[in-house]
Symmetry: C2
Subunit: 310 residues, 2 copies
């Protein structure tokens, strides 16, 4: 039951030899989701051993080049690799037009469907769900319509504590009832509270991806309690005027968002090429949010399973 984010790109608009454009892979229960797809993403996927064929869907935050210029190459390579399973792409209009343009000029025929799912960057709503996870849009404040994404495990069903089955002589029918959350009512009329016999197999984990954005208390509120918050930190606070002009955040502002969101961990990325030493971002953020990490390309941040008796 994996839940982990791998960083493929840690740079902002201007890639450098050491920092690629934005792209993260989220692995939730061995299903892979790509978030943004800057130039070079397909090479980064290969470098870190993630097959493009494994990607279930792609979530695009906004239509700036450094977040989408890797899409054409990735789609073409999936086609060359003869992908057959559908590829779902989430993003804002006119991503549909960009995809149509690509298909027309480069991949008119594919053996797999490219399913475009338009999202509304102004709304906070669920745009994806499967058995174990759901994804919500989180409106951000940038120069163009931009949405963050919140990935959250669903609360799993109750399990019956195995060691209780024998002593209580639980029937199949009683077990089904317990799993539904009902208390146990014995033939003699006594009641055993559900909590005594069941447990939640794991606490739902969550990952929020907020890039690119001005400091937004509202967005932080929308991801309240998130385990791992990725927040862009294009600039240091000394350059907060430039950050503001360009619709970006500073490391300090990212930390403020983490405090407000009551996040478990903060992951900083999208560093401007003007800074050589990334540790300055870390130091700045840790002043107010100690549990901060730097996005380092190829590294994976895992959120371990937490079990808690109900």
């Amino acid at each position: 039951m994996t839940f982990r984010a791998t960083i493929l790109g840690s740079g902002s608009a201007m890639p450098t030899a050491g920092r690629h454009n934005s792209a993260h892979v989220l692995d939730v229960h061995e299903q892979f989701y790509l978030i943004d797809c800057g130039e070079g993403t397909q090479m980064q996927l290969r470098r870190y051993g993630i097959s493009p064929l494994k990607l279930h869907s792609i979530f695009i935050t906004h239509l700036h080049g450094d977040h989408v210029f890797g899409l054409p190459g990735l789609i073409s390579s999936m086609n060359a690799m003869r992908r057959r399973t559908p590829l779902y792409i989430y993003g804002v209009h006119p991503l549909d037009e960009l995809l149509a343009h690509h298909r027309r000029y480069f991949d008119p025929v594919t053996e797999f469907d490219i399913v475009y799912r338009e999202v509304d960057a102004r709304r906070n709503e669920r745009v994806f769900e499967n058995k174990v996870m759901e994804v919500f849009t989180v409106p951000l404040r940038h120069r163009v319509p931009t949405t963050g994404y919140l990935f959250r495990e669903k609360r799993p069903g109750l399990n019956v504590r195995k060691e209780m089955i024998g002593p209580y002589g639980l029937t199949l029918k009683e077990i089904v009832g317990l799993k539904r959350g009902e208390d146990l009512v014995r033939e003699d009329g006594t009641t055993v509270p559900n909590a005594e016999l069941t447990y939640t197999p794991y606490e739902p984990r969550s990952y929020a991806h907020l890039s690119d954005t001005l400091y937004s208390p509202k967005a932080a509120e929308l991801v309240k309690g998130v385990d791992l918050l990725y927040h862009e930190a294009t600039y240091l606070d000394a350059d907060r005027k430039t950050a503001r002009q360009n619709g970006h955040s500073t490391a300090l502002q990212a930390a403020k968002a983490a405090v407000l969101a009551d996040a478990g961990q903060l992951l900083l990325g999208h560093f401007s090429a003007r800074y050589k030493d990334e540790n300055l971002f870390l130091e700045e953020a840790r002043q107010i949010f100690p549990n901060t990490l730097l996005a380092r390309e190829g590294e994976t941040v895992e959120i371990p399973v937490r079990r808690r008796r109900k």
Copy 2:
């Protein structure tokens, strides 16, 4: 008076962690020309210390993704870097449509002009010239309209041998005449042959870029005498059927082209991801064309100045 090619990408359609998509930089007399622009070209330029702002023009061979998917990012970065000098882009239709699409969605405003120069992939003709160099198209045989390019220094004007000026008491007028190729006629009516007093400062150097293509004797003939021949070698000869099906050459065929072109050196590239050991290409080509090199990313092949007395 530089004349050298730097390899930025040595892979074919499917980039790997170690082999990028096609891109070469030719430096002719400190003027930089980019040939093809696969995904990741802007990062490769930076990695090898070539500023995107230095590129005078871009020559695109054909419109397969692995040769053009780096253009959007490169143009956007030039814009972010506030380029002001015009950028010339040579290529076949519908590259004009791809560029227009890019401008519309990503760079509607630039401080520099993007000058599109359409070339005809069926013709062998001069498409560029400046004081020191000219560029010719070389029709290739691929699955889509594809042109190679031949870059050739112009024959420089004659220089007067300095050590002759004193002994002959050459006047300014006589020097001008000698530079024009005239013989020297003295007042007493005697004539000194031009060749005795002048020299060609250097022999014109040339670089041909043939990618992607089936083996084409015709193309080889068109670059006859070239100093450095870059020829694609996507496959080994054992896979020549696959090569043929995909419109590509084998290392052996590239070597045959080099023999036919009477090339000085052969540079092999565009290696398929299926081969791990590039030395197999080298061994195969050297069987019939010993002076063969492998395209290695970041390496520069220099053609030194050759001086020859006329």
